[in-house]
Symmetry: C2
Subunit: 207 residues, 2 copies
């Protein structure tokens, strides 16, 4: 295992250097066509479950870092349920996708921001994911760390599942953005959370 | 909502009195043929999943209070997968089922014992569940509160699910009884846990 300092090192550079030095194939966890296609299987599940529930038209809130999962889900829904539109959800201070889509070009996040949503705190949209979401984008949302902690506590209390902060942003948007329509679909994905942070969520936000 | 004092009041008496006073039908959560049959659907799922995994012969560890779930699962397995044998798991101090089955008659727990497994801390086996498990019993197990807390922390860290203490006893037995065979099936059922107790499990037993 090789640890790196997120604030002062760039994981993209580090992984490329390591792959070259060791003669390894690099499989990117997001900006890779096959990985995006695999994450699209979530979209297929959503289309099937929404049809079974009689839901034809709803926003699909998804966690969004580099956008692999959001792009995969968007592609699947385009084919299987075109009135379910992906709305990527990002943590405050890391709304690079929302800003990039508004600007029509890839923009980086300002340095120095911090968020507990470590799994989706990425410098900028992906080269593959950006054009996909540009075409299939349903409008982004941004949530705060406090809202994410509350969503984690609600998932604990009502869904009995463990969510990591980055996996709870879509649920946070579903819970705390009252302007959304009555029926929303939210992807809750990722439970790799430090026990200490999970305890904090339960302590501050018991519901 | 009517609260009662578990140590000094008997919920069986209380519910009968309330049902009569208000003209309500009492549906017992365990010692009722229909409820036992419904809980048996867990056994049907187990039989299907075990067959898919190529498991034909294994103990099926189940949480056990009055024994409704254990009896339902045992009945379903008798029909669908007779070499999967139910082994009820009880909390230390509340091993009334194990003692009753050994004695061949229903025995009550001694008063004064305490356990965090509140959902399955019951005075004695049920009138319906006892004869079913007497016929289909695969041998009981007993776990301590400490083992239950560790099982809750393991479920959090590795399964990403929230378990209440009474819902984690079977997992605790699977984890901490090395004499069990390599392949065991454990039912993890119930996530109705106080946030404070869950925090305690994470604090003491991070894995």
């Amino acid at each position: 295992m090789i640890l790196y300092d997120r604030a002062n090192q760039d994981c993209d550079t580090l992984e490329t250097v390591l792959a070259e030095a060791r003669g390894l194939s690099l499989i990117k966890p997001f900006d890779d066509a096959q990985v995006i296609a695999g994450q699209g299987s979530i979209g297929i599940e959503i289309a099937v479950q929404a049809a079974a529930a009689g839901v034809r038209d709803a926003p699909v809130l998804t966690c969004c870092g580099v956008g692999g999962m959001a792009a995969g889900i968007a592609l699947a829904l385009q084919s299987d349920a075109p009135d379910l539109r992906v709305r990527p959800v990002e943590p405050e201070g890391f709304e690079d996708f929302m800003r990039s889509l508004a600007a029509g070009k890839i923009l980086r996040n300002a340095t120095g921001a911090a968020s507990i949503c470590d799994a989706i705190v990425m410098p900028q949209p992906g080269d593959l994911t950006f054009p996909i979401l540009q075409r299939l984008y349903g409008g982004g949302l941004v949530v705060s760390d406090e809202e994410v902690l509350r969503a984690m506590a609600m998932a604990f209390a009502h869904l009995r599942i463990v969510l990591e902060p980055g996996g709870a942003v879509a649920l946070a948007a579903a819970l705390f953005r009252p302007y959304l329509p009555q029926t929303v679909i939210a992807v809750a994905s990722g439970g790799n959370v430090d026990p200490a942070l999970f305890r904090r969520a339960l302590e501050q936000h018991t519901v």
